[in-house]
């Protein structure tokens, strides 16, 4: 056979570019644009609170900022929302609500990022996602933060009867502090797949500029808590959590399944230590309150193999390229 090698395209470009049209865009505290489409209501959360009384039970208190997306008809393209910090010391306090009506199949891309590395911003996002009966949702949640940001996403998914969820979360550019919390309430005959990829710390040879974290201190602290409640009969979940501890990172993760009904669940949690200054703590937890439920877990943390590194270096890769390739392989398993 003839094999033609193609040009090296690693590392991949930030995926925002491939998502196309943005339906809700917020920069700092300002809603920059809302792209109206038939069958979907998109509003700033504060307006939705005024306009639709039923949203009050989901928001809890009057929201200051954030998006409200109500999908009422089937769409043949993904919905995209971008929330950005572009100015220094911005403190966002978002309340987001996504409601999808019965039997709709939808895809949503939500990108939250900081435009620059050292804006020292705060991104607090509390979101509720309601998947009504028979809904299928693929929710791609991508974070890209600066090195001094403080980020606290707290998302709660409610899966009504027969709903299916694929939740992909990727954070390859970690902030200084990340507190990631996700809760899934699974009704009867629902299924959820959570694929969570969380990188901690900095790349081995990250360039340093003024204001960058000083050597000797922790570059990033990450706390992860994902909880799935199997509340309905025949509800199923698979959680795949991948944690990568790079230079000067501390990651603490708790991954839980609570089974109160006859559901099935599996936790697959793996950590990879890339640097000797990294620390990962990982706790998988299973709580079973129904004798017909089947819940299992597997968890491991390993360091990057010296033999694999040497092997790839012998193929002409630099040490950094070899680490990147091994990490990408580790994450590809999700």
């Amino acid at each position: 056979m003839t094999m033609k090698n193609v040009k090296n395209v690693y590392p991949p470009k930030f995926p925002e570019k491939k998502f196309g049209r943005v339906h809700y865009r917020q920069v700092d505290h300002e809603v920059k644009n809302i792209f109206e489409i038939g069958g979907v209501t998109i509003l700033p959360s504060s307006e939705a609170w005024q306009k639709f009384a039923w949203t009050k039970k989901f928001f809890g208190e009057k929201p200051k900022e954030g998006y409200f997306i109500w999908v009422k008809n089937q769409l043949d393209f993904p919905l995209t929302a971008c929330i950005t910090i572009a100015s220094p010391k911005i403190s966002q306090d978002l309340r987001n609500l996504l409601v999808i009506e019965k039997n709709i199949k939808a895809r949503a891309n939500v990108i939250c990022d900081a435009k620059e590395k050292f804006l020292c911003g705060k991104h607090l996002a509390r979101g509720k996602l309601i998947l009504k009966e028979g809904v299928f949702l693929e929710y791609n949640h991508i974070h890209k933060w600066g090195e001094k940001d403080n980020v606290q996403p707290d998302y709660e998914f409610t899966l009504e009867k027969g709903a299916r969820l694929i939740y992909n979360y990727r954070n390859l550019f970690p902030p200084e502090n990340l507190e990631f919390k996700t809760t899934i309430h699974s009704g009867e005959n629902t299924s959820s797949n959570l694929n969570l990829i969380i990188m901690g710390g900095r790349a081995a040879k990250a360039s340093r500029v003024a204001g960058a974290p000083v050597l000797g201190r922790v570059a990033s602290k990450t706390k992860v808590k994902d909880t799935v409640f199997l509340e309905g009969k025949n509800s199923q979940t698979v959680v795949r959590l991948r944690l990568v501890g790079r230079k000067k990172s501390q990651i603490e993760a708790i991954s839980q399944i609570f089974a109160t009904s006859a559901g099935k669940g599996h936790l697959d949690c793996q950590g990879l230590l890339v640097d000797k200054t990294a620390k990962i703590s990982l706790i998988p937890q299973l709580v079973c309150q129904n004798k017909k439920a089947q819940i299992t877990h597997e968890a491991s943390i390993g360091k990057i193999s010296e033999e694999e590194l040497t092997y790839l270096r012998m193929r002409g890769l630099t040490e950094k390229e070899a680490i990147d390739l091994i990490v990408s392989g580790f994450l590809k398993k999700v």
């Binding site: 694999e308 790839l312 012998m314 390229e321 390739l325």
Partner: protein
């Protein structure tokens, strides 16, 4: 840095002088001297644990091993302290005996990073989209290693036990590939082998025997050496071939 001035050295690609090396405080190479010319094929025979694989890894610069004495010269230039990346850039390549599994990384991904070259090798297509060494059979590992070292566009290739675990048919195929892609292009080859099966297909110009971290004899007739080893085992080499050093 020492540059070797001798004009004869132009023909010599790799020269190793009294090389000593250890791993985990245990001395493995105990003064190895060796040289290989451009376009030459040499074999290195030896029993298990004689230091053959360590010799290969030390030549290419695996940081696991520490050189405690002697020197390595490539194209007349001392490279004893060069990093492994620099040695690879100079044109040295090693095909591993037991390459590590790399989860989630396809062979094609490694090849893409090595070069833009077009290579024609049968049987390789099915391997490209597989994870490197993960579900490869013994023969597939050898093909994958061969493909990678060819892509590196090397001047010297060391094959560490390329013939182990291959049946005679596959061995012949691998030897044909080595001949077509490397030997015919004037690339120097060092064949490290325990049982010497590959030698009948690649016919080395010189065969070395290593015992206990030293090359204890060399000879031009690989068939004679193999016959003696098979008949009397390696210990006999010391006595019967030491006078034949050319």
């Amino acid at each position: 840095m020492i540059y070797l001035q001798d004009k004869l050295m132009e023909k010599i690609l790799l020269k190793i002088k009294k090389l000593r090396a250890k791993a985990d405080e245990k001395e493995i190479l105990k003064g190895v001297s060796f040289q290989i010319k451009r376009g030459e094929i040499q074999a290195l025979l030896g029993p298990n644990a004689s230091g053959k694989s360590t010799f290969a890894q030390v030549i290419i610069g695996n940081p696991k091993y520490k050189i405690t004495g002697g020197g390595i010269f490539f194209e007349g230039k001392e490279i004893t302290k060069f990093s492994l990346e620099r040695r690879v850039k100079l044109g040295m390549a090693l095909a591993w005996q037991s390459p590590p599994k790399i989860k989630g990384v396809k062979l094609s991904q490694i090849l893409e990073r090595i070069s833009q070259r077009e290579i024609e090798i049968e049987e390789a297509e099915s391997l490209l989209e597989k994870e490197v060494n993960l579900h490869f059979s013994g023969g597939e590992k050898k093909i994958s290693e061969l493909l990678q070292v060819i892509s590196l566009d090397p001047k010297l290739v060391i094959f560490d036990e390329i013939d182990s675990g291959l049946d005679i048919k596959r061995l012949e195929k691998v030897a044909k590939m080595v001949k077509k892609e490397l030997v015919d292009k004037g690339i120097s080859i060092l064949l490290i082998t325990h049982l010497g099966q590959i030698l009948q297909f690649l016919k080395p110009n010189l065969t070395n025997v290593m015992l206990d971290g030293k090359i204890i004899c060399k000879g031009r007739d690989f068939r004679k050496i193999l016959r003696i080893i098979r008949k009397y085992d390696y210990e006999k080499c010391k006595k019967c071939l030491s006078t034949e050093v050319s």
